[in-house]
């Protein structure tokens, strides 16, 4: 089965054994493609896995440490074919990931994202609230992953309303006007988890704002909310309590694999879409960890043609809960993300360790 055929299938409809076979063929092809076209990838595979020829199972596939996209230019296309360069939104002074896209990869990303989102949102484009500042998209020259994420999501809604002003203040009047206009019909809300909590929820928690017809999709990680001791459950419970919003879906994704996002299902777990999969590895051996055991997440995706990002070892911890047996009838693996690998302090004479992975 080709990628295009895979797109046509309903999401989460493939039993895992079948999906694994399809992914294995596709990823073996991608691995060969990147080995031919990206000298860095080829060197890494030939030194780290000298006897490697072809994967028999998904877990056999070589994987790249996500940090390499920060330190090296990893690209499988000639320079002149680069259509867009994505960068992660790192804080000042931190190295950022650089992801090189050609037209085809960008198209695959948006086609894939579209199939995933329509599964959650339904086939019709809904009026949309962006929990974002309208200023974000003004500076097109600096195309951060956050802006790319917002732009990508905008296409799944209509009549867009930016809920925040340039100072990240909630536009309450605008919100009221938006809600009056949708008049009890469903609408779509998108934003980054922390921003939704800080700039939307915190402002309206003590008002009676009715968001019960909303479908919220949010992502970007839990790091800041963990610091505030707000868990996913708490996030959902509070929003539901105060605004009536009950359809809240977290998603997990990396700038290194835009388009291949893992959205929460009705059971609160993240699901791998048709063209992607996750493996959890034991950081002590790098062998695949048994189901139910936490470890480092490796993400696989059929989308990346222009850069070797089809098999990436992340710096996030996760846990796989099951395969093919989720309530709600979805097939494939379902898992949760436990957050970033906690940074340990190595001992040593030097107070700053130059080569420690940043980020």
């Amino acid at each position: 089965m080709k990628f295009d055929d895979l797109l046509k299938l309903p999401q989460y409809s493939l039993p895992y054994a079948e999906k694994e076979r399809i992914l294995l063929d596709g990823l073996n092809e991608l691995d060969e493609h990147h080995r031919r076209n990206c000298p860095e990838y080829n060197r890494l595979v030939s030194v780290l896995w000298p006897d490697y020829r072809k994967a028999e199972t998904l877990a056999d596939l070589p994987y790249l440490a996500v940090g390499l996209f920060k330190s090296h230019r990893l690209c499988s296309i000639p320079k002149e074919n680069i259509f867009k360069t994505l960068t992660s939104s790192g804080t000042t002074g931190q190295a950022v990931s650089q992801i090189f896209l050609d037209v085809e990869t960008a198209q695959r990303q948006s086609a894939a994202l579209s199939r995933i989102m329509t599964h959650t949102l339904g086939p019709n484009r809904l009026p949309m609230i962006l929990v974002e500042s309208s200023a974000l998209l003004k500076d097109r020259a600096r195309f951060s992953a956050r802006a790319a994420g917002v732009l990508g999501m905008m296409t799944f809604g209509r009549d867009h309303f930016y809920a925040l002003d340039e100072k990240m203040e909630l536009d309450e009047k605008g919100l009221q006007a938006f809600l009056e206009k949708v008049n009890g019909k469903p609408f779509f809300m998108f934003g980054f988890t922390f921003m939704i909590w800080q700039y939307l929820y915190q402002r309206i928690a003590d008002r009676s704002v009715d968001l019960s017809q909303g479908i919220m999709v949010h992502g970007g990680g839990w790091k800041k909310l963990q610091e505030l001791a707000v868990s996913n459950d708490e996030f959902k419970r509070k929003l539901r309590e105060k605004t009536g919003l009950s359809r809240i879906y977290n998603f997990y994704g990396l700038v290194e694999q835009v388009g291949s996002i893992y959205v929460e299902g009705e059971n609160g777990y993240l699901f791998a879409p048709n063209y992607a999969d996750v493996i959890v590895r034991d950081p002590l051996t790098w062998e695949p960890a048994p189901m139910g055991t936490p470890g480092v997440l490796q993400v696989l995706s059929l989308l990346p043609l222009s850069y070797p990002g089809h098999s990436v070892l992340t710096e996030d911890l996760g846990i796989i809960h099951g395969i093919d047996d989720a309530a709600g009838g979805r097939f494939g693996k379902y898992f949760s993300v436990l957050g970033r690998i906690p940074k340990a302090e190595l001992r040593g004479c030097s107070d700053v360790h130059a080569s420690q992975v940043s980020g």
Binding site: P283, W286, I341, A344, R347, G348, C349, D351, S355
Partner: protein
Amino acid sequence: MKVQQLVPRAEEVELDDILAGLRDISGGTLSPLAPEILEFCANFSRALFKDAEAKKFPELQALAFWMRKSELERLRQEFDRLKTKNTLPVPRGLVFHVPPANVDTIFMYSWIMSVLVGNRNILRISPRAAQQTTIICKVFNECLEAAGDVMRRNTVMIRYGHEQEITAAISAVADVRVIWGGDASVNNIRAVRIPPHCKELAFPDRYSLSVARTARYLALDEAKRKEVAAQFYNDTYWFDQMACSSPRLLIWCGEREESSKASAMFLQDLHEEVQRRGYTLDASGSMNKFTFLSRAILDQPVASTRRVDNQLTVAQLENIRHLDRDHCGGGFLFQYYAEGIDVLGQVVARKDQTLTYFGFEPAEMAALAKLLNGRGIDRIVPMGKALTFNRYWDGYDLMAEMIRHVYVE
């Protein structure tokens, strides 16, 4: 300004009062190697040996061993040799020590070298310091209770972060400032002014390596080989391979095939030793190491790698002329096969500190040092002694650095 004092008593104290106390010498000062200094150090060593908590930490046992009475006596004799017919060694005055946060005993070695020759001391303890530091301060304070008045007022340890005003206030009255903690710390603290007469000792980031003579290694019996592995383990893993004197590159000197054979045997033994000692890396160290390894493959002439297991990763280098000295620690070894020890002539740079060796004679090492003629390498010691502190460190004679010579004719 209030600061958290740890020694002589754990309490909040006004910094000005601490500094005034250290500068007030009306109660007398200690002369170099004075009996009360030696007595205090010997008492501290005994108390540390006996302390139930300290027993859990091999580095505290090593510190106690290093400060034992016979060693102090040896240092006293060495000190006597610093005197000449016309010169008399005297203390420099007040020494400000800024030790690193992560090696929990360095501050004590820094302190001993200074106090032995009669200096007064103030030490900055990082808020990140681990349990070992707490134990040392506790034992130190207990021993102070039995000490004389001058000894009790000799040393203050305070805990603070990176508050420049505290560093500046202490620096302003220091006669010697000692900065450990690598390039970043040295640069940060160096930006704070010291009095014109004050001298500064700085310990920046360093790199260390190891050489083994293949033929001698292959001639060892199994028991001896295991010993070598155990010594290499101690040198390397004690401080997560992040101590500046822990080896990060191992060079085998000999015929290539033979070296490859020796390396395989050695790594097998080292792996067993790592397992036997139960050394483990956490997820963060593991991830860091995998990323570092990948970057090394892309940026350096790495011919092959061996991930023996997660605790021991080896990257074989094809040449070491442009050795990159960046390192991730946690059991990562670069390896190189050379014909002979002459290869070091091409490699050694200013940043290189400790060379540990196996299978060479001290005379060969002395010849090597002469050949290098100061280009790099400050210590050449047998395998197993990489972390053994002595008065000669980073090219300094610490004892001599802590004194002034008064010329009398």
